[in-house]
Structure formats: structure tokens, C-alpha cells
Amino acid sequence: MLDYVTSYLKSSTTPGQAGDVLWSLIYILAIFAGLSVAVIAMNWLERKILAHMQVRLGPMRVGPHGLLQPIADAIKLLIKEDIAPTEADKWVFWMAPLLVVITAFTVFIVVPFGPTHAVTDMNIGVLFMLGVSSLSVLGVVMAGWASNSHYPLMGALRSSAQMVSYEIAMGLAVISAVLMTSLGSEDSGTLSMIGIVQAQASQETWFVFKFFPLGLIAFFIFAVAMVAETNRAPFDLPEAESELTAGFHTEYSGFRWSLFFLAEYSAMIAVSSIAVTLWLGGWLRPFSHWLSGDPWETVFSLFPGLSFLVLAAIAVFSTMRMPKHPYFKIQKIGLGVFASVLLLIGVVLFLPPVRDRVQDIFWFVAKVAAFMYLYIWYRGTFPRYRFDQLMKVGWKILLPMGIGVLILTAVSGIYF
């Protein structure tokens, strides 16, 4: 058994490639659990960050600083009555959220958290991600259609039109990044998610800086298109609550609704991880070529532990600032325990064997987290586009830009 584990730890390929079923399953479970935790954390963070941007406190009652609010909400959603409209097409109504959530989770089998930290490495990785994630449109249309009501139908139509149009701009941006993988000295082009990051390592630059500003423009196109693709503000027309109450999921409630919610957030994480992989060097740490050498390696390997220590420090600070009233005693203890858990994780992350192993995952997750923050920031800042304006941005601005960048990338690839 021990041999099995150690032999895996030394391997240099993903479990899927090695044909290792057990480790693949462990990875799948770990990613599923990690995603669920991430969605819960994201729920809390979004409400807190948005609240602080809007001069309010956000959830404060359930648990210290509302930390248990997402769990309370999840329980509430689970025990709610399961309502399906009488006029609804029951079978399709039932299938729609499942389809959306399954596609949202399936894409994660090719997301590389590190050179070996992925369920598998497909040679068509990017294509697989884009293809599977765009299947979620089907679920959205099904939800809108099956509800048999005007508002969801309009929401679904808007949503499908939007997702389909932005996929084109998104695809063009992805192609220009894929094109860049073939430009290294020993590289040939690849669609594999791991291969793309390795190409960035061997070309000693993240693709966002490649052929400045071409990489940056392609990245920008993707960054805009991915917000539209996930139906988030300022492109959240399908669920524009001021117009269509809740868009395609108006008729959904309880657990079915929470599946849509889960799918939306995991889709956000999925597209962010594509962006990170394609342009921001995936699991590579910042300045890996500029600040290279052993001392720098050691410095950067301290970051995972340090970040948890910072979080723990914030938690400790908040614990000390809790009101002195005995009413808050349990919350204070809870927050203290939370702080010490964070501290413990931080300390564990300093241990050399752990430290080396989690480096890749840490940098990948940190980059994705930055995108998640951007999503929240957008939501707090921007008004919403109108449907025709959204289409205009997609077809008349992003698409020509994408084609232009693609051509220019190809030309620069030949001449430089």
C-alpha cells in the first residue's frame, strides 16, 4: 500500500494517463469536494465582498461574521418543498438542472492544477473544455422551455443567444493562444491543457505577455467573453432580475434551483481556469524565469503557508474585535477555532515535503481566485447591458478583434 502511494507521488504523469483507476477516482473525489467547498466559500465571499463595497456588512448572524450562512442556506434549500409548475414538461423540467450541473463538473477532469495534478491529460483538452461547457446552453434552453412560462422562456432565449455568440469570440481568442504554443524552439502546437502550460514554461513567458500586446488583447477578449458565457454581471441579462424576475430559472426553487446556482459558480471557476491555463501560466509561479535559482525557489515556496497565516491573522484579529458581551461567546470561540484551523493549515504548508507538492496547486488556485474576485468586482460596479448592445459587443467588437489578433499572432509567429 505504502509502496503504491510513494510510487504515485514520484510519477510524472497524471493518473488518467498512467491508467491508474484508484488515483483517478481519488482525484475526482478531491476535485468534487474542493469545488463544492469553493462554491460555498465563493457564496460567502461574494456576499461579504459585495456588501463591503456597498457600505453594508453582509451576513453577520449565522456563525461568526456569517461564516455558516452558506451552510444554513444550503440546508434551507434542501428541505424546501419541491415545486414543479402544473403546466411544466415534467421530464425536461427535471433533466435541465441535472444537465447543467453535470456539464459544469465534467469539464474539471482536464483542468491542470499542476503538472501531475489533473484527473487526466487529454490531447484535445481545451476543445473538450469548451465543448462540454457549451453543452450547458442546452440545459438552460430546456429549463426555459419546460417551465412553460413567458419570463423563463425569454430568459432562456436571451441566454442561449448570448452563450452561443460569445463562444465564437472566445474560441478565436483560444485559438490564438493555442497558436502560440507552437512557437517555442522544441514545441509543437498542442491543445492539451498541461501541454499549453509547459509551452509557456519552455518559452519563458506567460502567453498574456507574448507578442505584446497581442497576447494581452486575446486575453482581454477571453476575459470579456467568459463573463458573458457564464451569464454574470454586466452580461447577466438571462437572469436580469429587474426585467425578467429571475430569467430561465424563475420557476425553479429549492434543490433544483440550488443546482443551477452550483452550476453557475462552478462554470465561473471552469472558465477562469481556462483563462489561467492559457494566458496566465497555469500552475507556474510568478517570475519563474526572472527570479530563478534556489533562494528564490525557497522564497516563493513559502507563499502557500504565508497566505494561510495571513488569513489566520485576520481571523485572530476579528476574534479579538468581537463584542465582549456573553451573547457572542460561542461565536467568539467558533471564530477562534476557525483561526487555529487556518493557522494549522498554514504551518503544515511550511513543511518541506508538503510545501513542494502544493506549490503548483497554490499558484493555480490563487490565480483563479483573482478571477473570482474580478467577477464580484464587476457585479458591484457595472450596470447591465441591453440585449442588442450585448450582441453588438459580441459580434461587432469582440469577433473582429479576435480575428485580427489571430491573424496578427500567426504573422508575428512567422516573422519573429
Binding site: 457600505v55 425569454m154 450596470p383 447591458y385 440585449f387
Partner: protein
């Protein structure tokens, strides 16, 4: 859907895209963006609006009828419940109308206090409009900023008369309450506090590309149409008509202050936004001038114990935050009005909705309802 004799059904069928069927959907009365209980029936061709019909009356409380069974003094608090976000203006209009009927004048000090409170209320009303309008267009943050700052105004109201929203601040013949100690300094502090906040709102929205795209050339209405429909207030001024009752027919102490009437040029939603933002600044100017020179003296005119106006009728109107707020009072010489008819700006402005959104998209309906700045309490009364 059954909606009786809707004019939407009686119309000739317009040509739709691809000859598809038109869709009739019901927006409201429970809808997050109809500012209360407005129900709009929309006839749509896809996303394009072919026609609208407003169904009102969900908040009808029969305020005008109630007036016939109350004395003039007793009816005063009821007017606060019409436009509940601009209760002070409602009260001012009513009190001045009855004063005109009685042929008495509020003393200068009372008039100054009235001007200050009314302008504060105009600010509060415009802040609420801005927050909800931005929220309808999808910007959720300004709402919280404007509510934070509106709170300061409500605090001043609370300190002055004990109520925050339905203030009942004025009485026929003047004011009941003397200004509290530190009223002037509170107001001055508020002016200093709020001026940069208005800049902050503008920073968030005025040059925001999405905001401009969503509001420019949306809900256009020409000056002639405004006049024909009787539309008043910022909506009228944004179409380029310089008509503000504070200047045109000065009441209270408005003739003594120096302020401008901001007007727009094109009459679209963006212009209405700019006009209201400028109006907030002008209100600050008026308050600043007023608070510096509140005259001393009585705050109540000589009003008979029992208010019994001579038989006759009177129409008096003031510039409420949303437009011309008029009271037509018929007196039969008794202690109770024979009939009161209120001319609410929201009700009249709402009629422009259909014209403003025809040919636009669904999202524009929301933007236009927001920009008309209606309060259903006032529409339905």
C-alpha cells in the same frame, strides 16, 4: 390572460418580425422593477415593444374621498401618504393651498424653514430615484450609497419633527415646530457632507460606458409631446423646456434665492439623469443660501381656531421633486372641503410611458419606468 377591454387588443396587428405571433406579457404588479404595484401589460414582438398598457389602482386608498370627511387640519397628514418619498413637498403644497383659500400668509421665518425642508426632501427624493433607477439598469451599488446619504436627511427630519418619512412637518399657516437647537449647523454639516457624495455618484455613472449606452437615446420624448401630455418636472425640463414653478410662479420664499433651472437638450433618459443630478446641486445651493439667513420672528400666522374657508375654489401648485403637484380645493364654507382634487406629477408623467417605449426593447421599459420617477402611492392615491 384576460384583461378585459385592453386597448392593446383593439389595435390593428402591427407587422412583426418573421410574421411571428406577438407575445403579451404581464409585468407587475409584483415585479421588482415597477417601483411598487404598477402593472404594465406589454405587447412584444420578441424583445421589441409594440405597445404598453398601464393598469393602476393597486394602491388606491381614496385619499381625495377621505378629504371630504375630514376637516382641513385633519386632512393634512393624509397628503404625506401620497408621494411618501417626498412627504414634505406634499404637505407644503396642501398647506399653501389652504392658506391661499383662507387668504393668509405664512410668516417669513416659516417660509424659510419650509424651503429648507422641502429642498432637503427634494434631495432625498432624487437620491431614492437615482438608487432605484441605477438598480433597474443593473448597477446595484449606487442604491446603497444613496440610501446611506439619504439617511442623513431623514435624521434631520426626525430631529425636526419626530418623523422620518411621513413627516407632517407643516401646518396650515406656517410651521408647528420651531427649529431645534443646532438645526442650522446640522444642515450646514449635511451640505458639506453631501456635495462630494453627489460627485461620487456621478463618478460611478456619468461616464460609465454601459450606463451611457443604456440611457442615451432611450425613452426619448420631445418638448411638444411633453406639453401635450402635461408632463412636468425634470422630465419636461430634460426635453428642453425651462419650466420650474419655483421660478415661474414663486411660492414660499423661493423668489429670494439665486438658483438655476437645469435643462436638457434631447429629452432622453441620460438627459433626465443629468438634469436631476444638476437639480440636486441647485437644491444644495438653495439650502445653503436659506440656512445662512433664516429670519427671526413667528413661525405661525394668525390662523382661526376652526378653519372655515369662505365658499369658493382654489388651485395652487408647487414644484414637487417629480413635477407639478397641484391641489384643487372646492370649499362650501364648512369646516370640511367639498372636494379636493390632487394633480399628482407621477400620475400625469406615467401617461408618457407608452409613447416613450414604443419600438424600444423590454429592457428600455424598465429604464423608462425608472427615469419617470413614479411613486405608486401618488399615482393611485
Amino acid at each position: 390572460m384576460s384583461h378585459g377591454t385592453s386597448h392593446l387588443e383593439l389595435q390593428d396587428h402591427e407587422k412583426t418580425f418573421l410574421d411571428s405571433n406577438e407575445l403579451i406579457i404581464n409585468m407587475g404588479p409584483q415585479h421588482p422593477a415597477t417601483h411598487g404595484v404598477l402593472r404594465v401589460i406589454l405587447k412584444l414582438d420578441g424583445e421589441k415593444v409594440l405597445g404598453t398598457e398601464c393598469v393602476i389602482g393597486y394602491l388606491h386608498r381614496g385619499v381625495e374621498k377621505i378629504a371630504e370627511h375630514r376637516t382641513y387640519t385633519m386632512f393634512n397628514p393624509y397628503v404625506d401618504r401620497m408621494d411618501y418619498v417626498a412627504a414634505v413637498s406634499n404637505g407644503l403644497g396642501y398647506c399653501e393651498s389652504v392658506e391661499k383659500l383662507l387668504n393668509i400668509q405664512a410668516p417669513p421665518r416659516a417660509n424659510y424653514i419650509r424651503v429648507i425642508l422641502t429642498e432637503l426632501n427634494r434631495l432625498a427624493s432624487h437620491m431614492l430615484w437615482l438608487g432605484t433607477h441605477a438598480l433597474d439598469i443593473g448597477a446595484i451599488t449606487p442604491l446603497f450609497y444613496t440610501f446611506r446619504d439619504r439617511e442623513e436627511i431623514l435624521k434631520i427630519f426626525e430631529k425636526y419633527c419626530g418623523a422620518r418619512l411621513t413627516t407632517h412637518a407643516f401646518r396650515i399657516g406656517g410651521c408647528l415646530y420651531e427649529t431645534y437647537d443646532g438645526f442650522e449647523s446640522d444642515v450646514t454639516r449635511f451640505l458639506k457632507f453631501v456635495a462630494p457624495k453627489i460627485e461620487e455618484y456621478e463618478e460611478l455613472l456619468t461616464t460609465n460606458r454601459i450606463w451611457v449606452e443604456r440611457t442615451k437615446n432611450v425613452g426619448f420624448i420631445s418638448a411638444a409631446d411633453c406639453v401635450a401630455l402635461g408632463v412636468t418636472g425634470p422630465v419636461l425640463r430634460a426635453s428642453g423646456v425651462k419650466w420650474d414653478l419655483r421660478k415661474a410662479q414663486p411660492y414660499a420664499a423661493y423668489s429670494e434665492f439665486d438658483f438655476e433651472i437645469p435643462i436638457g437638450t434631447t429629452g432622453d433618459t441620460y438627459d433626465r439623469y443629468l438634469v436631476r443630478m444638476q437639480e440636486m446641486r441647485q437644491s444644495l445651493r438653495i439650502i445653503e443660501q436659506a440656512v445662512g439667513r433664516i429670519p427671526s420672528g413667528p413661525i405661525m400666522a394668525k390662523v382661526p381656531k376652526v378653519i372655515k374657508p369662505p365658499a369658493g375654489e382654489i388651485y395652487h401648485s408647487i414644484e414637487a421633486p417629480k413635477g407639478e403637484l397641484g391641489y384643487f380645493i372646492v370649499s362650501d364654507g364648512s369646516t370640511q372641503p367639498y372636494r379636493i382634487r390632487v394633480r399628482p406629477p407621477s400620475f400625469v408623467n406615467l401617461q408618457a410611458l407608452d409613447q416613450m417605449v414604443r419600438g424600444a426593447l423590454v429592457a428600455d421599459v424598465i429604464a423608462v419606468i425608472g427615469t419617470l420617477d413614479i411613486v405608486l402611492g401618488e399615482v393611485d392615491r
